[in-house]
Subunit: 188 residues, 2 copies
């Protein structure tokens, strides 16, 4: 991880400083909430950084992580569901998914009612990797909550939920709730 040591000489004598009433507040409306904007950037960067290290050793990237994660959490999901969640094209998904299938992390099974569908399941190998990555992220979250006290989990959940597009929010919450109830995959 990069160390953020911007040299103190940035605000060196002679270097232009902004005039008193900054351009933002004077001209362009409400003051940006800089701290949250930047903290989100850094927090997310570190949050995905842990899994990225593990994945790169396997020749995988963040795209594989996302696919494997949602497949593992929602056994039997359709390809189309995954496309909606990830918000990418089927061509993009196809490449990544094929690698996961070929290497035995994900398997596809013909739908029982609708035989056009290729329902997706994580194999034991895939589940193990998914859980390993989730565990890394959970360690970070647990450490953060440990620093913050018992109300932190609920507060974080509420904040993050409120940051989601309002028209998507219900769907996301349903997705999470159902995945929590979801069975272990039984591709029979």
């Amino acid at each position: 991880m990069a160390d953020i040591n911007v040299s103190a000489k940035i605000a060196a004598p002679g270097v232009a400083e902004r005039p008193a009433g900054s351009a933002a507040s004077a001209a362009g409306g409400p003051e940006p909430i800089w701290d949250i904007i930047e903290l989100l950037f850094f927090a997310y960067r570190d949050f995905v950084g842990d899994p990225d290290e593990v994945l790169s050793k396997l020749g995988f990237g963040r795209a594989h992580h996302r696919v494997l994660h949602f497949v593992n959490r929602n056994p039997g999901m359709k390809v189309a569901d995954l496309l909606d969640i990830l918000n990418i094209t089927k061509q993009s998904l196809g490449r990544v998914l094929k690698q996961l299938v070929d290497q035995g992390y994900v398997l596809q099974k013909e739908g029982a009612q609708d035989r056009r569908q290729r329902l997706l399941y994580a194999t034991p190998k895939g589940e193990a990797l998914s859980l390993k990555l989730a565990h890394l992220q959970t360690q970070r979250i647990t450490r953060a909550f440990g620093e913050l006290g018992p109300a932190a989990h609920e507060a974080a959940r509420r904040f993050l939920t409120a940051m989601i597009d309002t028209d998507n929010r219900e769907g996301v919450l349903r997705l999470i709730a159902r995945a929590d109830r979801m069975a272990k995959p039984e591709p029979k």
Copy 2:
């Protein structure tokens, strides 16, 4: 934005549900904190989605946004500082930075003390774009805080800060704090 409408048939009748003490807690250590892991994914996706739309119309991408953001927030920063923050190589930065310079969003000035340095500044045009993008993100944050009550800002700040790598955290907080001082310089 994609609508998350995973077909309800995933949890089809007859599909087993996870027994109370789930497989993960039985087998593989502590239970992953799925809700925060997934909410972070969706919240961040929407958070960067707003600027992405504006940027794509200008032929820019997320990389340009990051560069412009930090340059605007830290006028006079060195190229090396930017590389540390963004955690990319100078070759990757070079291409993006060149476009921003060529199109008049960023300018480079020779360092006064060290003439090897190319100190980076946002032009008025660059500042305007940066603020426009920050405004979009601020609208989302403001809406979220509005739903959550007055303590939400402090809670979010504490949560996001705690999620950052411990050895990076101080540097990040210093960076944010100094940028805030640059925006509203105290009468010296």
